[in-house]
């Protein structure tokens, strides 16, 4: 129950689609979604594979709770070897695609090989077809979704697709569903594009069942009550979205600014949640239209925004004078503080383009920030940028590059390499603010020490969603720790990483963890699924998943040397704010972390650890 107990295997090379029973022994050890799909992936794919080779596979996966009425239970993930990182990738998305996949009767879809010409997968319950994507190849995510619904004459189809950036090999392309929800990071859309797979369109009407309805509804109702009663999930996120953090993190002195040159941005307020709610001069309306929920979510942190119609980006372009997915904190930071641009409408426009053309605003904005530093230090000039005045703070440069990147053209195509390859190309690898080639998100680890370790050890490259110690270090969840101190952070990072892997494997949103511990989650999973799901069992799954991902990366060629931070963060002290004078103390935290993990000093899980976790 809860699991559909069926997977769909699509061989794009042969054009075949086959059903297989879900491996329930693995489901008992890896639960679902991130964990279970990673297990399938590592069993089937050579860790050394080139991410863009037909031998790489791509898995779209739900969790056992996906499609139920548990709060936020609509998540799905895309698991593959990331095009940006060359590491295990698992990018999680909300919206309504995951529940539709489960309703069609599939826990996951495994794509292998490469289609001879562009195709899309169409699923109407048991009717599965690979169809010609000739008419949508070369079009945006938005046009693709519209075309599929119109072509099949069914407005209730749910679509996940790539934009032109994914077709053109932009290294950080996403898979976007429901117009503006994305499996965003690590270049999972790039892998999809390399397989000539444009979209997956689903219609599912079979329903989702759980093991014990009575216990399930009781546990779900209790969970919902905890969410609505919590200050973050019940008040802050619905009202302000994740953007509630912009001013908070800036005041903390942990808002990376202008490619991490400093840690506070003078324009933070102008791009914050508060600014999104202020009426603008031209029409008296605010940027924010309203909040919105993903499937089954009782938090509803999503932003629906409009751009000022008089703004230079849209004044002549009515197609963008509509409401669409607005700025989340990470995107607002990357497009704004990382580039020094404090024009809220320019950021919202760039965010629209990221959604429309299907690429990650975090990696894009951070890479533009790195390119701006290359430009301002004279390493590159207008000849390299195609005439763009690439100075920090230039909103027009940002939005022009957003459009170029979306089409894989001009200097935008070079931005599409990601900061690591771009900075290496111009001889300054030290200016790439990344770990394992993936750009940092919106927290400077000099001001939030634990995040330095979380970034350095994240299995998918720098990421806030693998171990969000910001919750403890800044927000005091579940208990407050000092963000400026490295002591004790190794254990904190491990605890967050393991719990997060369990949340991700269930099919629910990690944002619930602002209010829920695994004590709230376990009864919901246990009532839905066979297997006796206790907190301890979930924690073990989380730790097992973490180690499985680590083993894949080690076999792919990553070593302890890759658990590292750029010199800027460990050598150059923060110049302002509460963290003034501090660097990140990764060297103090990392050995303790390896020891707590049961890994050798070289970052390799010991046999004892592997045995303990049945790996």
């Amino acid at each position: 129950m809860a699991w559909a107990k069926k997977i769909l295997r699509v061989n794009l090379t042969d054009g075949t689609c086959k059903n297989e029973p879900l491996n329930m022994d693995w489901a008992d050890k890896y639960l679902g979604q991130r964990g279970l799909a990673t297990k399938y992936f590592v069993e089937e794919v050579d860790p050394k594979v080139d991410p863009l080779s037909p031998k790489n596979k791509l898995i779209m996966t739900t969790g056992p709770l996906t499609g139920t009425c548990a709060s936020t239970a609509g998540r799905y993930s895309v698991v593959t070897k990331g095009a940006l990182t060359g590491a295990i990738a698992c990018s999680n998305s909300g919206g309504f695609f995951g529940n539709e996949m489960k309703n069609a009767g599939y826990d996951m879809i495994i794509f292998e090989g490469k289609a001879k010409k562009p195709v899309y997968l169409f699923i109407d319950n048991d009717d599965v077809q690979l169809l010609d994507a000739g008419k949508i190849w070369g079009t945006s995510v938005w046009d693709t979704e519209d075309w599929i619904k119109e072509h099949h004459q069914d407005p209730m189809i749910r679509v996940a697709s790539i934009g032109v950036s994914g077709e053109k090999g932009v290294k950080f392309a996403c898979v976007v569903n429901d117009y503006h929800r994305a499996a965003g990071r690590s270049g999972v859309g790039t892998v999809m594009g390399s397989k000539n797979l444009k979209a997956v369109a689903l219609r599912g009407t079979k329903g989702v069942q759980v093991k014990d309805y009575k216990s399930f509804m009781k546990a779900v109702d209790a969970g919902k009550a905890v969410l609505s009663g919590n200050a973050v999930t019940g008040e802050g996120l619905p009202a302000y979205g994740t953007q509630v953090l912009m001013n908070v993190i800036n005041e903390t002195g942990a808002l990376p600014t202008r490619n991490h040159q400093t840690v506070q941005f003078e324009g933070a307020h102008a791009i914050s949640a508060e600014a999104m709610a202020e009426p603008r001069k031209s029409d008296g309306k605010p940027n924010l239209v309203r909040n919105a929920a993903c499937f089954a979510c009782t938090i509803a942190c999503g932003r629906i925004s409009t751009i000022d119609r008089t703004h230079f980006t849209v004044a002549e372009r009515p197609q963008y004078q509509v409401a669409s997915g607005g700025l989340e904190y990470e995107a607002a930071w990357a497009l704004g503080a990382a580039t020094g641009v404090d024009d809220l409408d320019a950021l919202t426009f760039a965010n629209f383009i990221c959604n429309e053309q299907g690429y990650d605003p975090i990696s894009f904005g951070a890479t533009v920030g790195a390119a701006m530093e290359l430009y301002e230090t004279g390493v590159i000039d207008k000849k390299a940028t195609g005439g763009i005045e690439l100075k920090f703070g230039n909103a027009k440069a940002l939005t022009d590059l957003a459009e170029q990147c979306g089409k894989g053209e001009g200097f935008g195509a070079e931005i599409g390499l990601g900061s690591k390859l771009l900075c290496e190309k111009y001889g300054h690898p030290e200016l790439s603010m990344s770990v394992k080639s993936q750009e940092f998100p919106a927290y400077d680890s000099r001001g939030i020490q634990g995040m330095g370790l979380a970034y350095a050890t994240s299995n998918r490259g720098a990421c806030h969603l693998r171990g969000y110690t910001v919750a403890s270090e800044i927000l005091g969840i579940p208990e407050k720790t000092d963000p400026l101190v490295a002591d004790g952070k190794a254990g904190l990072v491990k605890a967050f990483q393991d719990a997060t892997a369990a949340f991700d494997s269930a099919g629910i949103c990690i944002f619930t963890s602002f209010a829920w511990s695994l004590e709230d989650v376990a009864p919901q999973i246990d009532a839905a699924c066979e297997g006796g799901w206790s907190v301890d069992k979930l924690l073990e799954v989380g730790e097992r998943v973490w180690n499985l991902e680590r083993q894949f990366n080690n076999a792919a060629g990553f070593t302890a040397k890759d658990d590292n931070l750029p010199a800027r963060l460990v050598k150059d002290a923060a110049k302002v704010g509460p963290a003034k004078g501090l660097t990140n103390q990764l060297d103090k935290m990392l050995p303790e972390y390896y020891e707590l993990r049961g890994w050798t000093p070289d970052g390799v899980p010991t046999n004892e650890t592997l045995n303990r976790l049945s790996l």
Partner: protein
């Protein structure tokens, strides 16, 4: 007291908890495709609108049914489909001006909102009170109160 479902679109976040609750109550599974209430997402406008049967007094679906499979629940005012009598002719789906009676191809019967016998699950599941179940004679009370609050007390006193 007879009650009615009242929908306040401005409060709807589009989460579909109502569709999940409806399908669970009627089909014993979570299946938005079988929900009697639907959420419409007007994406370009940033609006979500829940829509379901308003239980017309003069119910065209009931009048159109050739086999009297739709009857009035006197306690709730709901027009209720009898699965035993329904022959799946779909005339009611044509008669309903609002589209809220629909055919279920899996069962060969039509489905519509029956107010869950007087305790609608959609209203209970809605996290934002965008769907409420209130006195049928006073469905406008909250709107009246909101407007009443906006009247200028000072101006009234001086008039």
């Amino acid at each position: 007291m007879q009650k009615s479902l009242v929908i306040i679109p401005s409060k709807c976040t589009g989460c579909l908890q109502c569709e999940l609750a409806c399908s669970y109550d009627n089909e014993s599974m979570f299946n938005p495709a079988k929900s009697r209430i639907k959420i419409f997402d007007f994406h370009d406008k940033g609006r979500f609108v829940p829509y379901t049967c308003t239980q017309c007094d003069e119910a065209w679906c009931m009048k159109a049914c050739p086999v009297d499979a739709i009857s009035l629940d006197a306690a709730t005012g709901a027009k209720v489909v009898s699965d035993e009598l329904c022959v799946g002719c779909k005339v009611c789906t044509i008669a309903c001006p609002f589209g809220t009676v629909n055919y279920n191809a899996d069962t060969g019967k039509v489905i519509k909102c029956d107010l869950c016998g007087g305790d609608p699950e959609c209203a209970k599941a809605c996290p934002t009170e965008a769907i409420v179940y209130v006195d049928a004679n006073w469905t406008g009370l909250d709107k009246m109160r909101a407007w009443a609050e906006k009247t200028d007390a000072g101006q009234q006193a001086s008039a």
